[in-house]
Point group: C2
Chain length 545, copies 2
Amino acid sequence: MEKSALQMARAAYQPKLPKALQGAVKVKEGAATQSVGDQEEIKKLFPNTYGMPIVEFEPATEANNTKMNVGIILSGGQAPGGHNVITGLFDQIKKLNPENRLFGFILGPGGLVDHNYMELTADIIDEYRNTGGFDMIGSGRTKLEKVDQFEKGLEIIRELNIKAIVIIGGDDSNTNACVLAEYYAAKNYGVQVIGCPKTIDGDLKNDQIETSFGFDTACKTYSELIGNIERDCNSARKYWHFIKVMGRSASHIALECALQTQPNICLVSEEIEQKGMSLDDIVTYIANAVCQRAADGNNFGTVIIPEGVIEFIPAIKKLIAQLNDVLAMPEAKELDRHESIDFVKAHLTDENLAVFNSLPTGVARQLALDRDPHGNVQVSLIETEKLLSTMVAQKLEKMKKEGKYSGKFSAQHHFFGYEGRCAAPSNFDADYCYALGTSAAQLIANGKTGYMAIVKNTTAPAEQWIAGGVPITMMMNMEKRAGEMKPVIRKALVELDGAPFKTFAAQRDRWARETAYVYPGPIQYWGPTEVCDQPTRTLALEQGK
Amino acid sequence: MEKSALQMARAAYQPKLPKALQGAVKVKEGAATQSVGDQEEIKKLFPNTYGMPIVEFEPATEANNTKMNVGIILSGGQAPGGHNVITGLFDQIKKLNPENRLFGFILGPGGLVDHNYMELTADIIDEYRNTGGFDMIGSGRTKLEKVDQFEKGLEIIRELNIKAIVIIGGDDSNTNACVLAEYYAAKNYGVQVIGCPKTIDGDLKNDQIETSFGFDTACKTYSELIGNIERDCNSARKYWHFIKVMGRSASHIALECALQTQPNICLVSEEIEQKGMSLDDIVTYIANAVCQRAADGNNFGTVIIPEGVIEFIPAIKKLIAQLNDVLAMPEAKELDRHESIDFVKAHLTDENLAVFNSLPTGVARQLALDRDPHGNVQVSLIETEKLLSTMVAQKLEKMKKEGKYSGKFSAQHHFFGYEGRCAAPSNFDADYCYALGTSAAQLIANGKTGYMAIVKNTTAPAEQWIAGGVPITMMMNMEKRAGEMKPVIRKALVELDGAPFKTFAAQRDRWARETAYVYPGPIQYWGPTEVCDQPTRTLALEQGK
């Protein structure tokens, strides 16, 4: 592997650890826990892993020299810092006992089932310290949820004499980690399962998990780009930039980027849903801001849009639900493209038809024609940034005819997703992930299963961070998935009464009118601590800083 | 202006200057020069500014305390470092004589004509040290080429007692700077004009100008993003990423990004033109690489595409030329969209019709229907990255039917332009621009006009850089522009026998087959010198390093 100068220099970075994890460790157990909802059902589904205490690590005088082999799995989309969870885990199990071995399962949970693995030795580990990506062992989206998968996995676990599996993933993957932990515990197999909280979207977050890893680096990378675009926007003074960022179900990324860069407009899906806004409401909101800025002579601006916003508009949600039903009708399958659209229009309710007709032709056509392998409308194919700018342009045209607007409107479009998912982790993510991996090793050494590794107090210097573990069942409730009630970890959406949103909401009118852009620049690994070592604004505000 | 932590810390950076510019300066003059082509014509057009010597600055014992006011103009698209040219110029004229004043003309050359200006005082200057963007005074695209503009400009020059105008711009703007210098010299107005070489595309480059500013920072920013995408690509192992980068007429950016990131494929427009490749040749080339990687089990990859590639394909160039003619026919104006396409098809030569029919429907439709205000085909609207991936998918489908390919192909698309034009300048661009501004001040103080400020030996440490000026006429020849022969600075395209291209060409077959990605990471301002202070690969290779 040919390396860049940054990678080579960065390999030498020694992530900072919480004080409690720097030497020998003992466990302090708290009170018994219960799930956030549906306690009875969750308890019944997880008799062996329900109700366990939260644990915290404390410095100890005597080292625990547990002999143990560990398996590690990366699950789902990439997030910066994944490799550091693995290096933290590796360093800690070797420190516990140099004979301990770490096995990586290849390309995600499927690697466990298919017995596709590699031993992660020191020379491999050293190649990946403080790097982005999941390419050390690859990731995958196979769901571990069936008994035959668990049993197949057990074969290789036995063969490699593995004591515990660590699964790095989002809400679904951690739920499955807990199902697996429960299964192995129920069977008395003596195999532990530990989860690690990863998601760029930032929606795996609760009282115990302050932030999920990768969010910090990804948001800073997107904010670098948004800031660069804002500066261009403010220099050329002739375009409105519509910038879509990752975040299908939660708008944490959009909100964090807005707090870092102060754009003219940022949409927040959760607010749109809560207020029951229509597509026209959103378009009007943007068009009015364009109009107001034009009146000040500013025919330019920036708009941040969360990827999933369209599905949060109640009227569009209803339309999509009915489209799925209409397109599933047997008669619909025989029609050519032209007939299909007529068929759809003939079967929509008046309300949905009105929404359908309000969409630009290309988007309506796409909704009526393109379906995914399950026959569903492909909402993710809609280029929301272009949809919105097109509709804003139409609205402004109308306002111009009415004499309400006399500016110029020209739009540019951007979408940032892949640009940040594999960025080299910021100091925060490098430290945080390394501490999570170290915690995972200690949870294993202390015999825990069905726990997620956690690190708290993360706006303080790393030295003062608090490491430990939380029972995964504690974060669960029952939700409907594909028609069935399932135990799941509750997704953390943007809270409209939380400090990050309120801070944004208190300033957005000024940002819309003025040009209050902030240009964060690229992530720095060396240099002043106020540049290199700050947590996200979201995290700081949530912790009252 | 609210500032980011990086901006605040970065404001304190003191750009490094060449030794000769650190104290008092004297001028060393070389031999008389001549233009790179059409000497007689250029000499006739520029009797007062032709044939002047190249000058180099040397340390002097006695300071030149010239009393002078200076005007500065930013022309054309943004490039990182523009503000540092201005701060370098400001610091140097104040050092020469604290009474000297600097005036910035607002929103480009139009500011001179319209008398729209602001005085740049120390407090304003300090806000913009080492920052990206052109927002200090804004930029514009008004061309200074008419006598009444020159005379109008003179009024405000006299009013502000300005001795010289500095114009920061690309090839066209510097040509116009020289026309202005010649005019003021011919009229004996005693007003000097100095140019500064700026272009992100990197096509303002020759024996005297080693690199134009902004190229370094922009390429590093794009390479950061391309590296992040490559790492994602190599972690998820399921997409081909088609990444378009800036560069309408030259592929320097694409080539530099390829040298930094080692993608599977990089197209170089100049090579495509030289080899007379067809669109099908390019598609086949990419499809074959996809096929070969699929045979190794690698259904993923990255392709870098220069923005202007489509216009370098000889067959497409011919088609566009004929389309422009056909669409200009009076009968064409009366037709509706449907008739228009039939009309176009009926009037194309067989050869052009075949090319037209080979294009995906949407692209063909766009070429036949969408015209710019001059009635020309809008090539820039074509999303080349999507055009190519669509055609590659079709080609692979055909290969699959013929049993030659059995992989999976799924594409993602990106376009990077605005993301890098206003990035905070790298140490290289911060130093280089500051030195250019300092040189410009010294050229003025030494009575020069019609010169471009230059800095050479730029792969050595800044201390050893050589600063001076070159007569703009030296870089000119006569070229046809809009039907007329005009004096212009010759654009520097990628040289196929130059070291950067040859280095790329020698490795690209391996890069196509293997996964040899390099992940450069974000620009660093603090940290090890091998990370923070390297010039571009293009510059290093051109200088044999």
